[in-house]
Amino acid sequence: MTSNSRTILICSGKGGVGKTTLTANLGIALAQRGSSTVVLDADFGLRNLDLLLGLENRIVYTAQEVLAETCRLDQALVKHKQVPNLALLPAGNPRMLEWLKPEDMQAIASMLEQRFDYVLIDCPAGIEDGFKNAVAAAREAIVITTPEVSAVRDADRVIGLLNTHGVNPVQLVLNRVRPKMMANQEMLAVDDVTDILALPLLGLVLEDEQVIVSTNRGEPLTLNGTKSPAAKAYSNIAGRLQGEDIPLLDPSKERSGLRATVRRLMQTKIF
């Protein structure tokens, strides 16, 4: 194990809230900041991490061959060309789900922990076997959610399960925040979500069209140092994970002018 390797599960319960995008961007950002990082796709049924990282054409072996000992770990790891500090361990064939056990994931994770500072596990959606396998390998977790009732409810279920499995610390990333809707009180406020889920907030990511553009290209936003709001948010999350003290963004400060001032006034808690 490298002196203090950290194995972090990135999970949400609900699908489509941004787990894989966060894993890809965080992987790049941590690696760029000097930490050797591996991202492990634990979503064997519907793998996509390779696609978001633009590594889909370079996969030869997967976690499956590593477990079966038909290849060495370093043969299966796909190194990122522009960010050599980052590697991907691709998910195997969906048929792996039939025999994969929590112990297998633990075995993979402990191999990776010997070589990398950060092991980021991209968890499948849901709370069934895929989740149980992934959680077995995790020491800490990042729960990602959006300010919507269904996503928050599912996040709550996942947090309960993480607690049961003794995963600690568990931190929260709030994704797809729309400052204008929050100002109009037509979207759950940041405090509403953190109060309900009772987790420390690791980061806040604004809704950002550039995320889709970067997905199209297979180049995570953090790769090119773009100034887009989401890119900034992801790299701040990486910095906070590494122990830097970076203040959280305040969505209400994202807008200025008289209208925004009135909206802020209307949010005043009166009782």
Binding site: V149, R153, I159, M182, N184, Q185, E186, L188, L197, K269
Partner: protein, 94 residues
């Protein structure tokens, strides 16, 4: 309640959806976390009323047993007001 909620109330408008979302979430999470279905909770509520009513005279109309949740701790909160004693005519003692 925020200032906006008050203004909405005064104007008779529908409240902003964020507060509705918050209230609905808190209720559904209290049930999710306790693994109690609304039917079971209702049955428990009736049984609690029966037990308490054996000992004290409670006002069933005003009584309430519900789940509340804060900081990931869910509690069963019972609020069972005693019925106000009806002033019984006291025997004259002269």
């Amino acid at each position: 309640m925020t200032l906006r909620d008050l203004v909405d109330k005064l104007l008779g408008r529908q409240p902003a959806s964020a507060s509705t979302a918050r209230d609905r979430l808190q209720l559904v999470l209290a049930h999710d976390r306790s693994d109690l279905s609304p039917e079971l909770l209702d049955q428990m509520r009736r049984e609690i009323f029966e037990v308490v009513a054996k000992y004290v005279d409670i006002d069933l109309e005003e009584g309430d047993v519900s789940l509340e949740t804060e900081d990931r701790v869910t509690a069963l909160v019972a609020n069972l007001p005693f019925r106000r004693p009806v002033a019984s005519p006291s025997p004259k003692s002269d």
